[in-house]
């Protein structure tokens, strides 16, 4: 329960920051994608299941407030969280390379999916333009923000895990 509330607060804070503060801090009208970072981070820290659910709810939030159809972002985010969960075995808290690579890949594949489904299918074919002007800047900005955000999430997760372990040993 404690974990659920904490995760909900993290998602809410990231969503709010992403739609208010970071829109104001946008460079060249590009803002970072915090929810992808959260989804991906919980995916490889906690496994497929949590990644999937956290992705699903983050996406649902975006769908409700900014989506055209309910369910599209939820689905994309859920899959991203799920796929990130496969890397749990390779994840070590001290190593920052893997998280950065995973979050970067997640952000990039998210943008590719959005491009294909929401732009390409409407006849916007200049992929190179969108790649250079939307996807790559967002990638760079997201990675920069992630370096800070990742450590915050990591610390919160470690504390949660410590509390859970203590409880388990108390009752078990």
């Amino acid at each position: 329960m404690r974990r659920k509330i904490t995760v909900f607060i993290i998602i809410a804070v990231c969503f709010l920051l992403q739609s208010t503060l970071f829109q104001a801090l946008a460079f060249a009208s590009i803002s970072p994608n915090l929810l992808i970072a959260v989804t991906s981070a919980f995916g490889f820290m906690r496994g497929r299941k949590e990644g999937m659910w956290i992705g699903f709810f983050s996406g649902l939030l975006l769908d409700i407030f900014y989506g055209n159809v309910i369910g599209f972002y939820a689905l994309v985010y859920a899959y991203i969280g799920y796929v990130n969960g496969f890397f749990r075995k390779m994840f070590f808290p001290d190593d920052i390379k893997l998280p950065l690579i995973l979050i970067a890949t997640s952000d990039f594949s998210y943008n590719i999916l959005v491009y294909v489904f929401l732009f390409f299918l409407r006849g916007r074919f200049q992929f190179d333009y969108y790649l250079v002007h939307i996807m790559l800047p967002e990638l760079v900005y997201t990675i920069l923000v992630t370096i800070v955000l990742y450590f915050v999430i990591l610390k919160i997760n470690q504390r949660l895990e410590a509390i859970e372990k203590r409880r388990a040993s108390k009752f078990g």
Binding site: L16, Q23, N33, K49, Y66, V69, A78, H133
Partner: protein, 285 residues
Amino acid sequence: MRRKSKHSMPTRYTLMILTGLCLMVMFVSFTLNLSGGPLNSIAGYIFIPMQNGINEVGTWFVNRAEDLKTMRDVMQENKELQTQVDKLTQDLSTIKLEQYELNNLRELMELDQKYPSYDKVAARVIGNDGGNWFNTFLIDKGENDGIEKDMNVIAGSGLVGIVIDTGPNYAKVRSIIDDASNVSGMALSSADRCIVNGNLASMNKEQVIQFSDLKCEDDSVKAGEQLVTSHISDKYLEGILIGYVSTINRDPNNLTYSGTVTPAVDFQHLQEVLVILDKKTIQKD
């Protein structure tokens, strides 16, 4: 933990169920044009107050920062004015420019009065689309303030967009520069109709959106022409200024023209908008 996972469903099945659910909801909301319904209300009551709060804090900081900045500017200007008399002449020319702009704006205002005055309600922009692909935003007025889907949103004298979804205390607006937006427009002087569609690429490159399918006499529409919403649109009220034609080219078919429009509204610094409470009513068969 081990014991528990043995009894619970494997994650891949949950994923499949979720996928099916999402696809179904997407299909339903796309075909029936439904929005979140109760989800909108719940999410609205949880998140909109927080967004409002952040915005108020943000605005406060921006105002303080601007105060500081302007104070610094004023001090610097003061120094410069004392040392440089030339600067005064420069200021004079700036004022002349502003006068010119003021005259222009006054003309525009008169133009605005020509159209029937609609009932409007002012709203503040409280959140932008989280991603970089689209250009939708949230305003802090919703169903409780009488806002409904398909109401037009303007700022100053120009068209901003249209309400595409509402919650109890917020509304979602798609701006005309959004990549998926299409508006039926017409040239003000000749009433030739065209389609104005938002374009992410051209908006990013040079702050313009595109229009197409303009049928007019040879070169009767020139750069600088005003485009307003047309009388045949079923959602946009007639005669709201969209923007000014910046480039125009004849299409390869030799019949129609297309080109780019500079929107009348500054979308970068949009803070307050007006929602027109009158909706265009079209009898549908």
